[in-house]
Structure formats: C-alpha cells, structure tokens
C-alpha cells in the first residue's frame, strides 16, 4: 500500500453518489487514495437505470447499463460502490456474455467494442483482500466507535449470482480491525424500501423506525451503511425524535485513516453525526 505502487481503477459513481450522497463519494475517493487506488471516473457515464428501468422496461434497463460498459477503458477494472449500480452493471454484462446477438447489437448501437473481460469490482471486493490490521498500526483508527452494520438488501442477490463471492460480515470485520466495536443485531439485512419510500412513506417509515430502535437497543452509537440509497431512506423516513446517526461505510473508513477531520461531509447528514464523533474522540 505504499505511495509508489498506485493502482488506477475506472470508477462508476452512479447518480446517488454523484448528487445526494456527495459525502459518500468524496470519502470513498479519499479513502481509496489513501490505500493506494486512484479512481478515474468513467467518462460521460449514465444512470444504471436504478430501481425503475428494470421495473417497467427490460430492454431500456439493459441499454442503460450496457452503454456504461462500452465507455469503460479496456484493461482497467471498473469499480462501483453503489450496490444497485453494481447489480445492474453485472446483470448487463452477464446478458451480453450469454447472448452473442445482444453483444453485437450493443456494439453496433454505440459504435464501440465492449470488453467481455472487463472486470467489475464492488468496493467490498476491493476491501476483502486488504490488510486493515496493518493499516491500523499507522492510522488513527476507530477506537470507541460502537456501530451496527446495515447492509440493506445488498447481500441478497438473484439466483443467477449465487456462486459469486458474497461478503457477509465484511463491514464488521474491516471496521473492527480498525478498532471499532460492532454490536450484534437482527436488522442489518432489512431492505430500506427503495422507491416505496416515496410512494408509500407510511410503510417505509414504520420499518425504518424499527431499524433505528433496534440499532439503539443493541447499544450502537451509529449505523454504518454501504449504500447511498439506504442512507437516504433511513435518514429521510424515520419519524423518531431521537435517533442515532447513520455513517456511510466510506466515511467511517476515511475517518479511520485520518481523512475525516475538517471535512464538510458530516454537515450534509440529516442527523448530524458530529456530536457522536466528537464524544468518541474521532473528530476534533
């Protein structure tokens, strides 16, 4: 992880991280920089289709995701941190690999070749092999932070992807290697509600409140989530007066390597995490 051996990665931020969750995006880029990866944004990327395209128009969903695959430069892995974007990109890549006609149509449409060997890596894949204990010796770490990991639906996958690596427990492992203390709870894999948050706020509000109540009951100071949409739905939909803050996983990581102080990330949270971070002596 020395500064001299830097690894460039193509990077797909996705709409949420590029806009509503800029703090997620910035902290991710800075953390990656710290551990030796330079993220280079895919030029002129478009929305992966989100939860909506595949819900009503399968062909459009495939086109939206596949265009991004044609834009990624050859020979460099493509990193995404948004679980939904990653799922859409992987789904499109699988479809192209299984159907040579679709691959041909895609290349003819965009006038660009698609690299069939383009390596799609989620942020978790990147961390799974990283040595955080080594990093902990040289960094401020996260000592004093009691958290519950919130994965939402990101560890659940369609059956066709059952045999791909799954990173159950990764946030607990990485963050405890960095000195934080995971608390055990039962709500880490509850779906955040995605678009039902807009259409059925009554349903999602009750569920999100249960998530917060259980997180607090588990003795956590905060939730840590790896999905920008989960983060927004948790923050926006809770009706509780007193609730603990929600950190992006990338923010916790950036804090651990000493990149959190003086950043304007935390002022963008609906529940301000700064008092909690100060009392845990993680920011000044």
């Amino acid at each position: 992880m020395s500064r001299s051996k830097r690894i460039p990665l193509s990077y797909f931020p996705g709409c949420s991280m590029a806009t509503t969750a800029k703090e997620n995006n910035r902290s991710l880029i800075e953390f990656c920089e710290q551990i030796g990866y330079d993220l280079i944004e895919v030029p002129d990327w478009n929305c992966c289709g989100s939860s909506s395209a595949h819900s009503v128009d399968a062909e459009l969903a495939q086109d939206l995701a596949a265009r991004n695959l044609t834009l990624a430069p050859r020979g460099r892995p493509l990193l995404a941190a948004c679980p939904n974007c990653m799922l859409r990109l992987r789904g499109a890549q699988r479809h192209l690999a299984e159907d040579p006609d679709a691959q041909q149509r895609c290349e003819a449409r965009w006038g660009r070749p698609v690299d069939p060997n383009l390596k799609l890596i989620h942020f978790f894949d990147l961390l799974a092999g990283a040595d955080m204990k080594g990093l902990n010796k040289t960094s401020p770490g996260l000592k004093g932070l009691k958290f519950v990991p919130y994965y939402g639906c990101m560890l659940a996958r369609p059956p066709a992807m059952r045999h791909e690596p799954n990173h159950h427990g990764l946030m607990e492992k990485i963050l405890s290697d960095l000195g934080a203390e995971p608390r055990r709870w039962g709500y880490g894999a509850r779906c955040c509600g995605t678009f039902l948050s807009v259409v059925r706020p009554d349903v999602v509000g009750a569920m999100v409140d249960a998530i917060f109540r259980n997180a607090a009951a588990a003795g956590a100071d905060c939730l840590v989530t790896a999905c920008a949409m989960c983060h927004m739905n948790l923050e926006v939909r809770s009706t509780l007066q007193n609730r603990i803050p929600v950190l992006h996983f990338s923010e916790a990581l950036a804090l651990a390597v000493g990149e959190g102080n003086g950043k304007d990330w935390f002022s963008r949270h609906l529940v301000d995490p700064r008092p909690m971070l100060r009392s845990a002596r993680l920011i000044g």
């Binding site: 819900s55 459009l60 678009f195 963008r268």
Partner: protein, 200 residues
C-alpha cells in the same frame, strides 16, 4: 374427522374461493419466457413470504402470485398490488429452495401488465418509475428534485413530504441543477423506441 367437525365444516362459510376453472394455461409459459424462471418449480413453502419486508403492504403474498399464475389466473395477477409493491430486493430469492428469481418474475409481470393495459393497482408506483425514466431521458442521470416535483404534480399530493424536501434542501442533499450526460445523441438512441416518447 369426528361428527362434530363434520357438521361445523358443513355450516362454515369458505373464507376465500379461487375459481380456477377458466385458467389461461399459456400465462405461466409467457412469464417463463420473459423472466427465465419456471414458476411450476414452486411448491409453496412460503419462505418468500416469510422473509418479504413488504408482504403486509401486498394484496397477495409473493408465492400467492405464483399460485395464481400456476392456475392460469392472468387477470388476477396483472391487476394485483403485489407486482407493484415488490421492490426487487431479492430477500426472497436467497431463501427460495427452488432458486426462483422472484424479482425477475415481478419485472416480467409488470411488463405484461403495462403491455396488456391491465388495471394498475398501484398507479403511483408506475408514475414514480415513469418520472425517474423521464429524468434519465432528459439528462442521462436522475435529477431527484425534479423527479419529486413532477411526481407531486402527477399525484396531486402537494403536502406530503414538504418538510422532508425542505430539510434535504437545507442539508444540500437535493441539487438544484441536474448532473448531465454530454452525449445527448446516445440518450436519444436509447429512448427513441416507440412513438409515445419511449417510456412505457
């Protein structure tokens, strides 16, 4: 069964009757072709319903939809609220012993419902999806503030979430201007599929 139970059974009104006489037996094949998933594999263990975070907001449970499809009850399936309430979180898929891709099935059912002009049980969900796609059509990316404003206009519900919107604006969570794709020709190519503007 003893006599007493027999009598009770005779007197009791049935709770629900599914009249399955005139089933459309081609329906399950149609769903299989579109979703790549064979619904006849389902033996109704209810694992999907047990784990579904939104089953209480549905009219039929996920396996209930499969049962209706197995019985060829096309119309009941297509006009159900369940197919619009499912968010495709895959929680059911990881529990399913038969590896049924429920999210793909629901995608297929929504597609069929739109194409066959079925009554949409949750029109607000479809309106929301359409606004998201219109935003992508315009900018190549989603512009959340505009999506929300247009969704409010469409559903004529002005006051729900006004406070949420203001708090998000105050926290710089809603950008006033959209983030855009520069190559607008590419976008036109994706959305210029049908005469009504490309969005189903």
């Amino acid at each position: 069964m003893n006599k007493r139970n027999q009598k009770n059974n005779r007197d009791a009104q049935p709770v629900a009757i599914i009249a399955a006489g005139n089933g459309d037996m081609g329906f399950i094949r149609e769903v299989k072709e579109r979703s790549g998933t064979d619904l006849s594999a389902c033996f109704h263990c209810r694992c999907c319903a047990g784990g579904c975070p939104f089953v209480e907001a549905m009219d039929y449970s996920p396996h209930g939809i499969i049962r209706l499809a197995q019985l060829g009850m096309r119309e009941e399936v297509l006009k159900s609220a369940t197919i619009w309430t499912c968010v495709g979180c895959h929680t059911c898929s990881i529990a399913c012993p038969m590896a049924i891709d429920m999210a793909a099935v629901m995608d297929a059912l929504r597609g069929i419902a739109i194409e066959s002009d079925a009554a949409i049980a949750e029109p607000d969900v479809l309106d929301f999806h359409r606004e998201v796609l219109r935003s992508i059509e315009r900018y190549g990316r989603t512009h959340k503030l505009e999506i929300m404003m247009r969704y409010k206009v469409k559903t004529r519900d002005w006051f729900t979430d006004m406070d949420v919107g203001l708090r998000m604006l105050a926290k710089r969570k809603l950008d006033l201007m959209p983030s855009k794709v520069r190559n607008t020709k590419d976008l036109k190519r994706m959305f210029r599929k049908n005469a009504e503007g490309g969005i189903p």
